[in-house]
Amino acid sequence: MSKHPHIGRLLFVAAVLGAVFAINVITLNGCDRTQAEKEQSFLQIGDFTIKRINPDLVEARDGAGRILALIPRNTEPPQGYTPDQIVRVPVRSVVAYGNFDVSALRVLGVLEDVLVGVTTPAEQWYLDDVKRGMASGKIVYLGDSRAVDFERLKRQNPELVLTWDHSAIPMLNQLKIPCVITSTPVAMCLNARMRYVQFLAPFFQREPEAEAFFLKVSDSVRVIRDRTANAGAKPKVMWGDIYEKRVLVEPGNAWVGELVGLAQSDYLFEDVYGTSCIEISVERFLHSGDDADILFTYRTADSGATSKAAIARLNPLLAKVKPLIDGKVYAPLPHYVQSGHRLDEILTEIAAILHPECYPNFELRFFEELPDVDPAQKKEQS
């Protein structure tokens, strides 16, 4: 038994406080800065980060954890970075693999000026800016994303490549072209999806445009939350598909899962955590399918999603899920994947699908509700 309980207690408290204080002093310098200043100096957007070291150096961490150093065009590269990490800003020419990256460039107002290469052929583009650029020859089709023609890419002289393909890194390093990996090991949450443009903004020095976009989308989220607050029954929602033997779904941590929850609905894969298009067991998909009211499929009309009957023909297992029997199935329209710059409208449309009573007479622009049978089949039947 201690003869000095008070000294003991005082010592314990002092030890805890001392340890916490020491750690804080060592690690948390700059606590006197305002919250805005702290956010400006370090910004985390999911797996991406932007860290402002000084006025001439910004460190960006991409989706693969690679660090890039953004420096003004006429400055000496700082110490501690390899040549393939250096990106001179503002970037003047970009190759973009992903549709969402192209949309982000549009949001930042630099698409027409900087985009020089894409991996989708001209006839599959819906963005006028890109169609014009490809018609004029400024923007070039570099081949399918898994078989990019690096000779053609080199000829376009890009200063930056935005890609999800890790295998491109060694080739781009050889060509001395910096690249940013835009895919992440974990699906982007809603906040990351809204703020992604803020990650790309420093590359083009377009932070105000990125901030304006984020505020616009945040506003639409707030409106969705308010508008659906008193909605009636909560619909049960699935987002995924079955491909031969594989089942792919959007996990609960993805932006779609968060949005569904925010819009007073039940996302049936809310407990699933991981990357976008995560693979799960068929049994789980079918079990959730027993309860679901609405299914969002990945497939478009081009890949067979023309009606519920067509989807059921593609995979008979899907015919068992409740949305195909007496619920609703929605498929994305072809331009949906190229509409990231209209994220606020997309979020609103999803909310309108979940709660049509809150959005009377809403016209769908990014998704289509699949009929029970194909129109031609219906005609035959009638």
Partner: protein, 274 residues
């Protein structure tokens, strides 16, 4: 005044402090689960960037989800001090009373808990060294025929070839036509000597103090179309804490075996009274 250091020493080694700190650790770690859940993008970079840079950026940026971690560090610090003081006191007392033991084996077994105590300190020291002093190059991508040099060194890694072993059975439907065993052959050189080694998932390679760990690879499946170009993504780490925490684990295991043997098979109470 000379009494004060003795009082402080005694209090720091007190078992009440141990119990309180351990219970606080239980609560803090449980809170950590809820903070980590869905927020691992905040904590995952901790292994790459190091403790201080992480604390200044991710840690400060999201205190709601990282406060438990700072508390964990503080509690582990106190636990380490408490453990050291308590174990040292008891080891000294044990040596002073060694004449009570007739059998050297029984005397040795008495050190079991103290070996475990010191081992915990070694393990915690290893973790701290790891997070403070590691050199980490987290995502280095290599295509066959390409090479990278570890920055600031002459260590060079060249990707020679990639061997795949596909799953050939029918039992794992989800794994049909997928790579089951990826193996990348690397040539490692430091400008003077070189050697070749094969790395795979869960099979790293060590060279010149650096560990090379396979993080990712492609292609992951065979097929006629839409197959990714082959590459391997490695993480290169020079971690001074490795030897500490593995030594600590070995010591702890030794102490645990001794303790379990003593508790489960030896009638300790009779020996103690003697």
């Amino acid at each position: 005044m000379t009494r004060l250091p003795a009082i402080v020493w005694r209090q720091l080694g007190g078992v009440r402090l141990t119990v309180v700190v351990l219970l606080l650790l239980v609560v803090d770690c449980a809170m950590g689960y809820w903070s980590l859940r869905g927020n691992n993008t905040v904590f995952a970079p901790l292994n790459d960037v190091g403790l201080f840079p992480w604390a200044r950026t991710y840690g400060m940026n999201d205190l709601i989800h990282t406060a438990w971690f700072f508390t964990l560090l503080a509690l582990l610090f106190i636990l380490a001090i408490n453990t050291f003081v308590c174990a040292t006191d008891r080891v000294i007392a044990l040596f002073k009373s060694r004449s009570r033991f007739t059998r050297p084996g029984r005397f040795a077994l008495k050190f079991a808990p103290h070996i475990m105590h010191y081992a915990v300190i070694v393990i915690l020291t290893g973790y701290l060294s790891s997070y403070l002093f590691s050199d980490v190059y987290p995502s280095q991508t290599l295509a066959p025929g390409t090479a990278i040099t570890v920055p600031g060194t002459r260590v060079r890694l060249e990707f020679l070839s990639f061997d795949y072993q596909y799953y050939e059975g029918k039992r794992l439907e989800f794994f049909e036509d997928r790579v089951l065993s990826p193996e990348a052959r690397l040539k490692l050189s430091n400008g003077v000597t070189e050697r070749t080694a094969a790395i795979s998932l869960n099979r790293p390679v060590r060279y010149e103090g650096y560990g090379v760990f396979m993080k990712n690879f492609a292609p992951k499946k065979r097929g006629r179309k839409n197959i990714s170009r082959p590459y391997v993504e490695v993480s290169i780490r020079k971690d001074p804490g490795v030897s500490f925490y593995f030594t600590g684990m070995a010591l702890f295991s030794l102490g645990l075996v001794m303790y379990a043997y003593q508790w489960l098979f030896v009638k300790a109470h009779g020996e103690e009274r003697q």
